[in-house]
Amino acid sequence: MTADLTSEIRQLLAELTGDSRPLDAPLDTALLRDGIGLDSLGGTVLLTEIERRYGVDIAAEDLNLDCLESIGALADYIASRLAAP
């Protein structure tokens, strides 16, 4: 499931940034600033879209937003939340 989720997230990031790099960037690529280059606006749109698609409200649950650390961390976080009963 994580593999599908990862490719969905890559797709979403590519749409948000208007750039194809997120499609094949390494899993440990950071999302903010120097990595994918999301700013606070892009990050907010990403979190809103994730809540809409997966029902996971990251901004309320993860105050440090550690899952914005990398593409892989974000996919793992959503997968773990979807797997929880």
Partner: protein, 347 residues
């Protein structure tokens, strides 16, 4: 507080139906045009949501003599038009009023966007006296707000066509940010920002001019102001913060206008604060931040700048302050490397 009035055109701002009179398009309704100008003078933005071709928007600008901050003309639902206007202007639904003569349109918008204040044209004369339409302070920035949003639209259109990164675009646009101690002349605008900002506001409470003045004069605090300009226009004072200096710096309030959203200013400001604290020999910078769905952009900026929190502290006893119970302290350890300041920040 209402920040934007979204107007219908046919039989609302226009005395007639645009498409029914192609040879002589309808004139502006004089009463509503007067109110529109009155609201604009109070710093409230004016926008159009109309089921018409785009020419209707141009016609309305011509006959009212008003430059609208955003125009949505098309055939989709009005709620979608209002959502697009909110996204373009960086507004939340509870700061928007919608005026339409058609009761069915009003009902549909009320259903889809329950936080939007939905009004009939007949309500508007009375509405001008309501507190939601009467900001206590109207600054120069507020009066120029409509013009600033037009500059923003020009900037966004060029940014979409620009091929490079955000940082390259900021340099290409000749972005200039200055961060400096606040002067007495800045206090009304800083107060206004404390009332109006939500997406980039750490405290979630307003701060009076008197409180700001005493902080500016305090030996233990500093009050900073941030200004922003580029070749599209001068946005004036867009942000500020209160700093408590010492062995560890504390930031009781940091705020930024959503006008600066997507322009790198909040990131540059947080970096500036951390670097200033490091130069002053402080070990860390702490930002107590209200955890609210509205200030997610600020929390993302804090995370991006290397701030971390241990979460919302447990409250002892029953007399816990309800605001404190939702505040987490974000800390930046200054022994970790700090990013450099962008070249467009004036030192």
């Amino acid at each position: 507080m209402i920040k934007c009035v979204v107007w219908d055109l046919d039989n609302t701002l226009l005395d007639g139906v645009f498409l029914e009179s192609p040879d002589q398009p309808p004139a502006a309704n004089p009463r509503l045009t007067g109110l529109l100008k009155e609201f604009a003078g109070r710093g409230i933005l004016q926008a159009i949501a109309s089921r018409n071709p785009p020419e209707a928007g141009q016609h309305a600008e011509h006959v009212t003599g008003h430059a609208f901050a955003a125009t949505q003309c098309g055939w989709g639902p009005k709620s979608a038009a209002i959502r697009a206007i909110m996204a373009e202007l960086g507004l939340t639904a509870d700061s928007v009023a919608f005026v339409d003569d058609d009761p069915m349109e009003r009902a549909k918008v009320s259903f889809s966007l329950p936080d939007v204040l939905v009004l009939a044209p007949d309500d508007m004369t009375a509405a001008a006296g309501w507190p939601q339409f009467s900001p206590a302070v109207v600054t120069d920035e507020a009066r120029r707000r409509g013009e600033l949003y037009r500059q923003r639209r020009a900037r966004q259109e060029e940014a979409r066509a620009f091929g490079g990164s955000t940082d390259e675009f900021l340099r290409h646009s000749q972005t200039r940010v200055s961060i400096r101690p606040a002067t007495p002349g800045d206090l009304p605008r800083l107060h206004e920002l404390s009332v109006r900002t939500h997406q980039f506001n750490s405290a979630g409470t307003s701060i009076s001019e008197t409180e700001l003045a005493s902080l500016a004069g305090s030996p233990t605090h500093r009050l900073l102001a941030v200004t922003l300009a580029d070749r599209f226009g001068d946005d004036g004072l867009v942000g500020g913060c209160v700093l408590a200096t010492g062995r560890s710096w504390r930031v009781p309030l940091v705020m930024m206008s959503c006008r600066a959203l997507g322009r790198g200013v909040i990131d540059a400001f947080l970096t500036w604060i951390c670097r200033a604290a490091q130069r002053a020999g402080a070990a860390q910078v702490a930002v107590p931040c209200l955890i609210s769905p509205r200030n997610v952009p600020l929390r993302i900026a804090l995370t991006g700048a290397g701030f971390r929190t241990g979460g919302i502290p447990e409250q002892d006893g029953e007399a816990a302050d309800p605001a404190a119970s939702k505040t987490a302290v974000y800390v930046r350890d200054l022994s970790q490397p700090l990013p450099g300041l962008p070249s467009w920040v004036q030192r």
